[in-house]
């Protein structure tokens, strides 16, 4: 059960002012989640998770709902941004201009052996981008 490991990603009490974002990752694929009041939920590093299976990228719907630096699918599906490099430029710029905050985004690419559940299959053109332009960590199942 998720709740045994993290009793906040699935809420157990009324903490609606608390926002959540991924602030770290270890080599086993354990994502550290930061929880704080929105205006305090500014972390120097933010991580966006993508799954990769059979040479295609997927975005987890649970995180689209649950994390504060979300609505990634608005950018990929609705506006057609298929470059993580461009996505991170936008997110960084938004944080800077709207929150007066500088942070760095990193793509976590989790390579799976089976198709991930509850995910949006991203466009065939979707690309994370070169390592010298996009911060990225790769986790292999």
């Amino acid at each position: 059960m998720l709740q045994g490991k993290d009793d906040k990603v699935v809420r157990s009490n009324s903490d609606i002012n608390i926002s959540s974002t991924i602030t770290g990752i270890d080599n086993e694929g354990n994502a550290e989640i930061g929880y704080a009041y929105f205006k305090e939920a500014l972390y120097p590093d933010s991580y966006i998770v993508f799954y990769k299976y059979n040479d295609r990228y997927y975005y987890p719907l649970a995180l689209e709902f649950r994390l504060i630096d979300n609505n990634i699918l608005y950018l990929t599906e609705e506006l057609g941004i298929n470059s993580v490099e461009q996505m991170f430029q936008m997110l960084t710029s938004s944080m800077n201009k709207e929150e007066k905050w500088s942070n760095e985004f990193t793509a976590i690419v989790v390579h799976t052996k089976h198709e991930p559940k509850y995910c949006q299959l991203l466009s065939q053109d979707f690309t994370v981008g070169p390592i010298d332009k996009v911060n990225q960590r790769h986790i292999y199942e």
């Binding site: 998720l2 699935v10 009324s14 354990n30 709902f65």
Partner: protein
């Protein structure tokens, strides 16, 4: 606190997934999503009266309206935002994606149209009622949570098998007295499809009834169906069509 991403990919149960989605109620819902507090009717945006009047005109008189008429309200708002962006450079999205954003708002082949009863939030979820929740339309039916529910077509982007009594208890537990602020009665009631610059409205008898019995304090928003019909959160950023004056 940590979340194992492989567990998330392969071992998440339907109940865990449903509860994770329902845990996302937040007054600050993230980038490029409006909060509920941002949703107020603006003079000139499409209303239920305007939508149903244009629909009856169409079915009784074959009268339709052009894209420029349907998108006039949005185009007017975009012009104002252009001036503001030039002055203040507020929104990165406008700077980097100005053209894509405008096309997303004004160039859809088909829009879906939803009504949200903004003053009628509920203290407890009920079966067979649709709610606007964090940019999605969700609905509980016996044994299932429907995410991305479309009342007009009676379909959804996801069907999650759940114990509905447990889900009702759970949302009451975690939202408490704030429950009514997060679950607003709402439904997708119409679509507007363009063919040769003429906009054709589709409604069903049921969706027409749903529209006309909306609370008097409601808002009508649109979604670009061409690019969003397959994703669960598609009402997070409004497209506002025009209350066409005749």
């Amino acid at each position: 606190m940590s979340l194992n991403l492989l567990h998330l990919a392969h071992n998440l149960t339907e109940e865990e997934y449903a509860k994770m989605v329902l845990s996302s109620g937040d007054y600050f819902p993230g980038f490029y999503r409006f909060t509920m507090g941002d949703r107020n009717h603006e003079d000139g945006q499409l209303t239920i009266k305007g939508l149903t009047s244009r629909y009856f005109e169409q079915i009784s008189l074959d009268k339709t309206y052009s894209r420029s008429e349907w998108t006039a309200f949005t185009n007017k708002r975009l012009s104002a935002q252009d001036l503001r962006n030039e002055a203040h450079s507020d929104y990165a999205i406008f700077e980097l994606l100005d053209q894509k954003y405008k096309e997303w708002m004004t160039a859809a082949t088909e829009y879906d149209i939803a009504v949200i009863d903004i003053d009628c939030g509920v203290d407890e979820l009920a079966l067979d009622q649709t709610y606007f929740f964090m940019g999605s339309l969700i609905r509980l039916t016996e044994g299932k949570l429907l995410i991305g529910y479309d009342y007009l077509r009676d379909e959804s982007t996801q069907e999650i098998v759940v114990d509905t009594s447990e889900i009702i208890r759970y949302t009451k537990q975690i939202y408490g007295e704030n429950h009514k602020e997060f679950f607003l009665p709402a439904d997708l009631v119409a679509s507007l499809r363009f063919d040769n610059d003429n906009g054709y409205i589709t409604m069903s008898d049921e969706s027409l009834s749903r529209a006309v019995i909306s609370d008097s304090n409601n808002i009508v928003i649109a979604s670009n169906r061409d690019v969003s019909k397959h994703i669960p959160i598609r009402w997070a950023k409004d497209i506002l069509l025009t209350d066409i004056e005749v």
